[in-house]
Every structure is written in C-alpha cells, then in structure tokens.
Amino acid sequence: MKQRISLALLFALSAVLAITSVSAEESSHPEIERQKWSFSGFGGQFDTAQLQRGFQVYQNVCSNCHGLKRLAFRNLVQPGGPEFPEAAVKALAKSWPNQITDGPNDEGKMFERPPLLSDPIRGPYHNDQEARAAQNGALPPDLSLMARARNVERNPSWWIHPFLMIGDIAHAYQEGGADYIYALLNGFSDPPADFKLTDGKSYNKVFAGHQISMPPPLSDGAVPYSDGTPPTVENYSRDVVAFLSWAADPSLDTRKRIGWQVVLYLIVTTGLLYLGKRRIWAGIKH
C-alpha cells in the first residue's frame, strides 16, 4: 500500500513538473511554433486543393532556384497528391522551362528536350557547380525531401523529456520539418541593431546562425490564387509547406489509411486472443 501511495505521489509530482516545464519551454523558444496541418496526427490526410495551391507557389517562386528531382511529373497526377488532370500535367511538362538532357542521338550528340510525364521535375541548374556560380556561391538545395530532412530541436528539462516523447508518439507528431520550413519562410525580418549581416545575406530568426543566402522568397500577391484563398505570405508558405510535405512523403495518405485498418485489426485480435487465453487459463491458478 505504501508503495502504491509513493508511486501515485511520484506520478502527480512528475505531472506537475511536466506542465510547468512545458510552459517554461514555450516561452524560451517562441520562434518555432507547432502549426495545425491537415496531414498531422494519426488521422491527418493531405488537402488536395492546398497541394494544388502549394505546387503553384513552387512553380511560380521556388522553382526559379530549387529543383524537385525525386518527384516526376506523373506524381502530380497520382492519388493522394495534388491530383492535377493528366492532360494539364502533360501540357505543364511540355512547357517546363528546365529541359531534360537526353541522348546520345543517332549522331552521338547529347540534346535537350522537354520533360515527359516520367521525367523528374528538374531545377534550373544542371549541377551544383552551375548553381553556385549563378547564386553567388550558395547552393539552393533540392526540395524533394526538405520536409523530412529538417526538424525542430526541443530542449526540455531532463525530467520532462520522457513525457514529451510519449506525448509526441501518442499524438503521432511527425511535422517537425513542416513546422520548421513554415517558420523559416515567415522568419525573415530586419536584423537587430547589433547584428552584423554579411553582404548578400538575409536575416532570418529561425535559420541557424540567422544569416541565410536565400532572400525572402514570398511576398503578398506574388502568386495569383484562383480559388478565393487570400494571396498572403502566410497562406503561400502554409500551402507550399503542405506541398513539400507531400513531396517528401507521397504515401502518407495511404500509410495512415492502412495504418488504421492494421491497428483496428490488431486491437480486435489482441482482445480475442486475450479472451481465449482467459478461457484456457480459467481453471489454472497462476
């Protein structure tokens, strides 16, 4: 009994500590907040209209410097993605400014041609050297995996660490990359008075070291939206982050849908097996 009480006390104490240090933590890292995404959590799915708008932002803004090489044009048609009509994507590929190097042809020469549905969505540069030469030494990274390749660092106090971990796992939180990119796109500002900014760099409160080679990419009204969504930086960044999250994890919709079927099956089966086990052990003291 004494043990039970001390255990209960321990739990109560840790719960109190958990709550206090979460609030303390939030105040020390105000810059990267967790956003609400349609695809977050264990039930989340992508919003097709949002992915379409996000691709529009990528096409109009990001693709001027960044490639998306792990995605083919055909992926823009497939279910669970932006689901553009095939004809539209074919036309898009045909007019895509960044051509595909193919060949050799019958004369042994390499040649450039417009991409097909099966070709990757290339950025403007053929290689890293060309990109650096054009971008003042900076390399615009390929964006295919960006939403998976970034995360939000959290530094909770040690006693709170396990609780936050269990909380994240239980909530199926995997959107650290999305939250980071969203914060980065909205994190541009004038540098503080005492900050010495290198020429050609921009100040960003989220980026490590606060100096980023990318100038603020988005501005209100830069991309025309046709579905009535207000054309603001806030909306652009939200939509393009959703699009990049899909690009980095195109099977998310299927994964979570199958996941629920698997989890339900396992819950029912575990329950039945447990009842069976109780029946088998009914006459056995153990």
Binding site: F42, R70, N75, S144, L145, R148, A149, R150, N151, W158, H161, P162, D168, I169, A172, Y173, Q174, G176, G177, A208, A248, P250, S251, R255, K256, I258, G259, W260, V262, V263, L266, I267, T269, T270, L273, Y274, G276, K277, I280, W281, G283, I284, K285, H286
Partner: protein, 438 residues
Amino acid sequence: MGGRTSNYVATTRWGKWLDERLPIGRVVKNQFIDYPTPRNLNYLWTFGGILSLILVGQIVTGVILAMHYQPSATGAFDSIEHIRRDVNYGWMIRNFHSVGASMFFFAVYVHIFRGFYYGSYKAPREVLWILGVLIMLLMMATAFMGYTLPWGQMSFWGVTVITNLFSALDTIINGLGTAIVEWLWGGYAVSGVTLNRFFSLHYLLPFVLTGVVVLHIWALHVVGQNNPTGLDLKEADDCIPMHPYATSKDAVGIFAFLLLYAWFVFFVPDYLGHADNYVEANPLVTPPHIVPEWYFLPFYAILRAFTSSFLGIPLGQYAKLCGVVAMFSAVVVIAFAPWLDTSRIRSAKYRPIFKWFFWFFLFTCVALGYLGSKPAEGVYVVASQIFTVCYFLFFLVAMPIVGIIETPRRLPRSISESVLGKGGGGLPSGAAAAPDVR
C-alpha cells in the same frame, strides 16, 4: 528437462517412418507442446517469443529490401527513395524494417532487464545468459551496419565516428589502430567500398545471429525457464504444458506488441530516426550533432564520458582509449553477471536490498541514454561520468556485496506453494507436467 521420457506416439505410417529417421515431430511435441513451463510466468516472459518473431520479420523484410537496394555510394540514397516512392508498398516494407530494428532493441532490453530482476542469469543458466549477451553483440553489429545503408548524413558520420574508435589503439602500439581502421574502411576514408562490405556483412550476420538464437533456445530447454519466484521446478503442480497455456499467453503478448510496432510503422515511422538521414551523405559537411540511434545512446554516453579528464582524473592521450574500453566493457560485463552476483536467491522479489539497486540500475541506463543524446559539454559530461561509474558499480560492487549482506525474504517452498498457497508435495524435480496432474 532435456532427457525426459517422451510421450510422443507417431500415429501414421509416414509419421513412424519419419520418426525413426528424423524425429522432428517428437522434438516439437516434447519441446514446444508438452514442454513443462512454470505456471506463474508473467507477461514479461512473452518477450522471448516476441523477439523470435521480430527476427524472422527483419530477415523477411530485409531480403525483400535487398532486392531493390543498391549498395554503392552513388546509388544507395537514391535506391532508398526509389523503395519509398516507386516500389509497390516499398514504404511499408522499409518502415517495418527500420522501425523493426528499434522494436528489436526495445524488446531485447525488456528481456534483459527481466533477466536481471528475476535472476535468470544464475546457475544453471550461465551459458544461456552468455549466449544472450552474444546475441545482443551480434544485434548491435548488425544494426550499426544496417544504419549505414541509407547513406544519409547520419549514416555516414556515424560510421566515421564509430570506426575511428579503433584508432585509439594507436596509443598502445603505434600504427596498429590506424591499420585496423583502414582495413575496416577498405581505404583511407569511409567510402562506397565501406558501404559495400557493410551491406555484405549486414546480410550475413542475421543468419549467424539466428544460429546463436537456436543455441540460446536449446540451452533454455535444457535448464528450463526461470520464473517470477526464481525457484526451481520441484513438483508436478509447478508446471503446466507449454501448449495451450504458454502459447496462448505468448499470442496475446505478441499481438499487443505488434500493436505498438504498427503504431510506429504507420503513424510515426521517422520518429526514432534522425532528420539528417534524409540528407544524402556528404563527406565535406559534418552535421552539428552526430548521434547514434536511440538504442546505442547509453553506450555512446559511456564512450563520451571519457574526456581529457574523468571526474578529475586526467586521462591525457588515453582518453579515447579509455572511452572505447569502457564502452565495450559495458556490454562484456553483463556476461559476467552470473559470477558477480553472490546471492543464492534468484528473484529480486525476495531480495529487499537488491531490488532497489535493480531499479537504480534501470534509472542509470535511461539516464545514460538521455545524456547520450545531448551534446558532450558542461554538466552533461559530468553527469555522464557519474552515471558511468554507477553503471559499473552495479556490476562490480553492488552485485557481489549485496548478495553477502542482504537477508532475503522468506522463500515459498515451491512455485505451487506461492501460487496455490499449499504445502509442497514430494515429487522429484523435473517430473512430467502431464495435463492430468491438475
């Protein structure tokens, strides 16, 4: 329990014919159906079955992944993305395999701590225990090499850091460490050559591991299972046949575990990994924090606890060597537990002092895991040093001394007395656990 008389009777002509040539049915009947299991096993004893299942699962998913994977510095990262995006259900197989490694370690750690709590390492189970430690070592080697294969930033820099550890041997014999490291790498740096050999070994070691698992189960079936009281099987009433009792309980344990496994696979597949591993390996860019997978963190913390000084003791050029020796010792010392623990009593249930040391040891391991994930600086280093000392003190001081000074609680005479609350009978140990004795 190995030499018990068998009550297997081949019923068909074909069965009799086979039984005289390869008595496989007899072995299954004796070892996995009638096999006497203690009646008081709790759900912690289902982890053996869970681990066997994960091993098979890892081999099956691994063989399928190998069909699509390219072990080369230029192709590895792309082929993983090909599996995630273009192979039918490739994302699922890949998640099962990568999450499977974590689940494997989670289950094996539960299994090991169960052994510590109930004294499963004590005579006559020493060989069984040592085989278990060997399995853990093989698992670690396999997992380490497997983590190299995606060829992301963390893969590359993890290999670089860990293989470089062997260069610490240079402080004993000049040039020896460097020679070993270059031999491991197959060159003067981690490269595609390294990746290729690690892939080969990653495919090989699980089968070696399976062999040792067979020995582990064999040894288990010779000495019999331990149980929560830690008492030997003395009476017929102490045991029940494996099937349907232990098997039905195992099934519940396995499916409950699969539920956890599936949660990770389908909802948080990347949670246990590191975001940097979605960046292709780049020898020119070092990530700010190089951390291993979570299951290596306690050992990583021990390794890094040895900075230029350890709790005030200056280590100088031997710092790295001390760290490496301590890290490997942390695993090897587990194998000596049967001889370090001086108590005759197995189960911590009846060991009032050891019980507290056990829980503190568990806390030590978790704390080391946490510290392993933190940068090696300031208070984290001091804490790592203190907990490293605690880790070894548990084995080298607590285990021998507690066994001598502790007065154990009163032990029940037998399992049946503890379960059924009656006095023990007089049957010799190892009596058959036929169902009719109930």
